[in-house]
Every structure is written in C-alpha cells, then in structure tokens.
C-alpha cells in the first residue's frame, strides 16, 4: 500500500491525501456529533458546510481551472434546490425511504442544473472575460426572478405548475385535488418541505465532487480545459475545440452546484429564491479566491472556515461582510501586485532562513 503510494505521481499523491483528509474529518465529526459533543448550532451547520464546499470546489472549476469568471453560480444552486425539493416532495408518497428520495432529488437537481448550465453556456461561452462575467450575473438574476414566479403543487394527478408572470395568481389557482400539497408558492418560496438532508449525504457528495473535479483535472479533458485558460489561441492551434471544452467545464461545474443545491434545499423546511442571489454567488467566489484559484484544498478549507466563523462570532456579524470585503481586496492586491509579491516572497525567505538558523 505504502509502496504504491510512493510510486504514484506527485499530483496524484496530493489528491489521495485530500481524500484521506476529508474522510478523516468526516469520521471525527461524525463521532463527535453522535456523542452529542457538538454544540447544536455547529451540528446544524454540517449540511450547509458540505453544500458550500461543493459550491466552492465546483466554482473553482469554472474560475480557477477554466479561467472564466462566473458571477451567477448561486443560480445553478437555486435550480438544483427547487427542482430537488419538487422531486422529493412529489415523490414523498411513492418513495417512503428518505435516503433514496434524497439521492433522487440530488440527481434531479444536478440534471436540471446541467440543462440550465448548457442553455446558459451556449450564449455565455461565446463571450470573453468581463462580458462573460456580466452575462453570468444576468443569468443568475433571471433564474431568481423566474423561480419567484413559479407556483408548484402536486396531487394524485401529478405535478401542477403555474408560471405567475403578472403576479396575480395564488396557490388556489393550482386546483389541487383533496390531499394534494403545495410545494412552491411563488415569491414565498418552498414551504413545508420535509427535511431529509443528512451529514452523511453531504459527505458523500463532497467526496464525489472531489473525485470528479480532481480526476477531471488530471485527465485529457481537464488538460484541455486548463490549456484554454492559459492560452486559447495556442489551444486552438493544437486542435483543441474551444467550445466543447469550455462547455464541459462549465456544465460540470453547474451540475455539481445543482446537486449541492438539492442537498441544501432539503435541509430547510422553508426556502426562498432570494437566498440564491448575487450575494451568495459572491460569497462562494470569496471562498474560491481566498482558498486560491485552482487550489481545491484551499476551497474546501475556505468554505468550511468562512461558514463556521461568522456563526461563531455572532456579535461580530455586522462587520462580517465588511471584513470579507477588505480581505478580498487585500488578497487580490497581495497576490497580483509585483511589489507586494516580492515583499511577501522576501518575508517567506527570511522565515525559512530563521528556521534553518534555529535548527
């Protein structure tokens, strides 16, 4: 076993260590949780943390690995959340097993988000840089408004959907049969959802996400995606189809966000579409940027710490976003300014020297 590990390539070794770290973290937290050692507020955060890890890792695929800034990642989470909630609520009678229903909901959420990603990707990926960023932002807002117009219910006849364009209709207009239930009430969002998400499911989703993203990056397709990031013209000159691989990266990212959304949606009995607005997209972007573009490990840690931290420092809450803003600016300045870079590199060298000198 150890020999096999030693023989593995360097980047593969990093991947195995990442998996190992996540598994260990899960085991420790699960034991603590079962023993009742986690405070209630922390225990309630376990599922959201998993969701945000998946969101951050998947956005890193778009921003860090494909190299295109997406400002609408929460939109895919939203699509996944509401389609997942609809699937789970509509199937509640026919599939009593909660884990199975959660699995189906997550697959449905992922599929819908993939379709949304594909539809959005077609126009978006023809643009570059700033234009692409602003159009993803636009799509995020469009998704939010469209979901705000949805009224969905289910009864013995199946699903009933109203698209409430004028804002004049209510759940009454669904004309549900006796025993039917309302799943989404337009701007009031999903209400009365049976919460079936679990930490174990979250852990499994995180692992699947890691395997997909890390293995993709180390494969032929992932190399092509990174080649587009580094130099699109050179990539074309060696026969790499730009649209195909941009789309691959973008849709994979959307799909994972959709699965995370479904898990998130089924963790709360009430859910508003406004939860997944521009601010959420930015929050996830902050995780990615602070964790390091292209650095999967960094995304996991940033998502975890920055989800726990504000809750842990409740009194500090009003300053949270202010601190985020300052940190975001400082990190960008620190990592992109030549003078500051040299300054930090100098500090690191000194620290190393000091360490060597001491030893």
């Amino acid at each position: 076993m150890l020999k096999w590990f030693k023989n593995a390539k360097k980047e593969n070794r990093t991947d195995y260590l990442t998996y190992l770290g996540v598994v260990l973290a899960f085991i420790i937290i699960a034991i603590l949780n079962n023993a009742g050692l986690l405070p209630r507020s922390r225990a309630g955060q376990l599922v959201p943390i998993c969701c945000y890890i998946v969101m951050a890792v998947s956005l890193n695929l778009t921003v860090g690995i494909l190299g295109e800034l997406s400002l609408g990642h929460a939109g895919f989470m939203s699509v996944g959340a509401f389609s997942g909630v609809i699937a789970s609520q509509a199937l509640a009678a026919s599939i009593p097993s909660a884990p199975l229903r959660l699995l189906i909901a997550m697959v449905v959420g992922a599929l819908f988000a993939a379709v949304a990603g594909f539809i959005i990707g077609m126009p978006v990926l023809r643009l570059h840089g700033d234009y692409l960023a602003i159009v993803t932002l636009a799509f995020g807002e469009i998704i939010k408004e469209i979901i705000n117009c949805l009224i969905v219910g289910s009864d013995a006849n199946g699903l009933h959907v109203i698209f409430n364009v004028k804002g004049l209709k209510t759940a009454e207009d669904l004309n549900l049969l006796e025993g039917g239930k309302i799943i989404i009430k337009g701007a009031q969002g999903a209400a009365g959802t049976e919460t079936i998400s679990s930490f174990t499911a979250g852990f499994i989703l995180v692992m699947i996400t890691l395997i997909i993203v890390l293995n993709l990056v180390r494969s032929r397709s992932g190399r092509a995606i990174m080649a587009l990031r580094d130099n699109r013209i050179a990539a074309e000159s060696v026969g790499i189809n730009v649209t195909e691989y941009k789309m691959m990266g973008f849709v994979t990212s959307a799909t994972l966000a959709g699965a995370a959304g479904a898990l998130y949606g089924l963790n709360y009995s009430n859910l508003l579409a406004t939860k997944f607005d521009f601010n959420t997209s930015i929050l996830v972007l902050v995780f990615v940027v602070l964790g390091g573009l292209g650095n999967i490990w960094g995304s996991i840690i940033a998502a975890t710490v920055l989800t726990i931290l504000p809750e842990a420092l409740r009194g500090f809450d009003s300053y949270r976003m202010l601190v985020y803003a300052i940190v975001l600016i400082l990190v960008m300045l620190g990592t992109n300014n030549e003078k500051l870079k040299i300054f930090f590199a100098g500090l690191a060298k000194k620290a190393k020297k000091a360490k060597k000198g001491g030893a």
């Binding site: 190399r223 990174m226 060696v238």
Partner: protein, 286 residues
C-alpha cells in the same frame, strides 16, 4: 470536419510552371498551395495576391522586412484570420470551410512569434496537449479512471518523452512551462506542434533570441525533424544564415506582396530582393 486524409487519396494538382519545389517532391501533390491569397484590414491590403507552393518534404523559408505581412500569412494559413480573397489548398483540398482546429487535425501545426505556451502546466502536459487528438479516451473514462485512461496516459507519457528527447528535454518534463528559459520555451513550442502529427510545420521566428550556438543546433534539429517525420517545414526567420543554409526554397515578401521566389542562390542574386532589404542606391533615386 477534420477528416485526416492519407497522402495518396488527395487529388493530383498540376504544378504551375513557375513554382519552386525540390525534385524529390515533384511527382507528388504539393502539401500547400495558395492561390491569389489576400486579406484586408480596414481599407489596408495587408496581403495581396500571395501565391506559394510547398512540396511534401520541403524546407521553405518566408523572409521579408518587418511588417511585410509574414506572420499574417501564418495566421491566414492556420485560419486565425479569414482570408478576404483567394484559396488555400492543403494537401490538395480546399480549406475554405475549415477552422484552426480542423486545419490542425488535417495536419497544419505552428509555433508563435511571441511564444504561446500553456505556462501554468508542466512541460510534459504541454506536449500531451499536442497529443490531445491522438489520446483516445473521453471525459467519463477519465473521471472514472477506467483501464483506457491508464493505458492511454501511459502511452502518451512515453510518446511525450520520446518527442522531448529530440531536443534533449526529457529532464525538464516536470518543470512548469512558464519557468523554462527562453530558448527551451521556443523548443518546447516546436515539440508541442510536432506532437499534433503535422504534415506541414509552420515555425514563426524559431531562432529569435537564441545565441549562435543555439541557432546552429536548432538548424540541425529542423533538418533532422524533416528527415525523421518526412514533413514539410515553412519558417519565418530573420537570421539569413539559417534561412540560406537550410531552406530549399525561399519566398520574399514586401508590403504584403511576394516579390521573389526561388532557391537560396537565386534569392541572394535577385536585385529586387536586395533593393527591398537595402533600399535603392542613391544614384538610382534621382
């Protein structure tokens, strides 16, 4: 799109009488033929009536003063720019409908004047990206690491190492491409282009920034590459020593127009070329 054709199924195109092609390539369809090729930028005719033929295993040079439109020709040949006028026949087929990717799949590979490597990837990954269309497994087998992934990755690793050995760069395989010294970056670009299994290799100033001994080595290597892979090479170069000693045919471009074609001896003796490079003599101006 991108159907790779074998040498023999291309239609035989008769050579125009004024074309220069080395004797050994005479009875075969030329690898590249351009007819009345031209492109306008705004109102400016950047390239006009460009006619060139390159034999299957010829090493050809494209020279001319700065701003003559040499790199523009490369961009036209690889469809980075769409020609305004004229036809490009590659391997006997019209490339009218093809884009950069399709042309690469058909067998045109190039390097860039301002080096364009995948700077954040390793040297080996850069070569493997050249092998991209040769590696046969898709996204899902890659994610699931099916046997085809391991098999193809192993094969492409070996192939990449073999290609790197042309320039003795195996030892640098795990370096980051962006951190290579300048000369090595130029060589890596050539290897990456070669990895796409081209029939025509376009080199844009391969010796730029190299010292004389590096240039001499590069010259040997270009000839060796042609001999080993039996491909045609078209190069843009300002180093006249390099051009005159390895090119079999030379085309001279000035102000977007072809002013001379022929063997190195003919070009060196051509008064029009001398005038383009040195300007008119004082006496003649009056």
């Amino acid at each position: 799109m991108g159907k790779v054709k074998s040498v023999n199924d291309s239609p035989l195109v008769p050579l125009p009488t004024n074309a220069f092609v080395p004797e050994r390539d005479l009875l075969k369809t030329p690898i590249l033929e351009t007819r009345h090729l031209g492109i306008d930028f705004g109102g400016l005719k950047a390239v006009e009536d460009f006619n060139l033929i390159i034999g299957r295993t010829e090493i050809a040079g494209l020279i001319g003063p700065n701003g003559a439109g040499k790199t523009t020709i490369f961009n036209l040949l690889t469809k980075v720019y769409q020609p305004t006028r004229g036809t490009i026949l590659f391997d006997g087929y019209d490339t009218h409908e093809m884009d950069t990717v399709a042309l690469n799949k058909a067998g045109v590979a190039r390097t860039f004047q301002n080096i364009r490597l995948f700077n954040n990837l390793t040297v080996e990954d850069n070569v493997k990206l050249g092998l991209h269309n040769d590696i046969k497994y898709g996204m899902v087998p890659g994610i699931l690491r099916l046997p085809s992934y391991w098999k193809e990755e192993k094969r492409s690793h070996e192939k990449a190492m073999e290609l790197l050995s042309i320039f003795n760069m195996e030892g640098m395989a795990s370096w980051q491409a962006g951190s290579l010294p300048y000369g090595a970056q130029r060589r890596l670009e050539i290897i990456r282009a070669l990895a796409t299994d081209p029939k025509l290799l376009l080199l844009d100033e391969p010796a730029a920034g190299m010292n004389p001994s590096e240039t001499a080595e590069l010259m040997e290597n270009i000839v060796a590459i042609r001999d080993r892979f039996q491909i045609a090479v078209l190069l843009i170069e300002h180093d006249m020593n390099l051009v005159m000693s390895i090119c079999e045919g030379i085309a001279v471009l000035n102000f977007g127009k072809l002013i001379a074609k022929g063997t190195p001896e003919q070009i060196q003796a051509n008064p029009v070329v001398i005038e383009a490079y040195l300007g008119k003599k004082h006496g003649e101006e009056a």
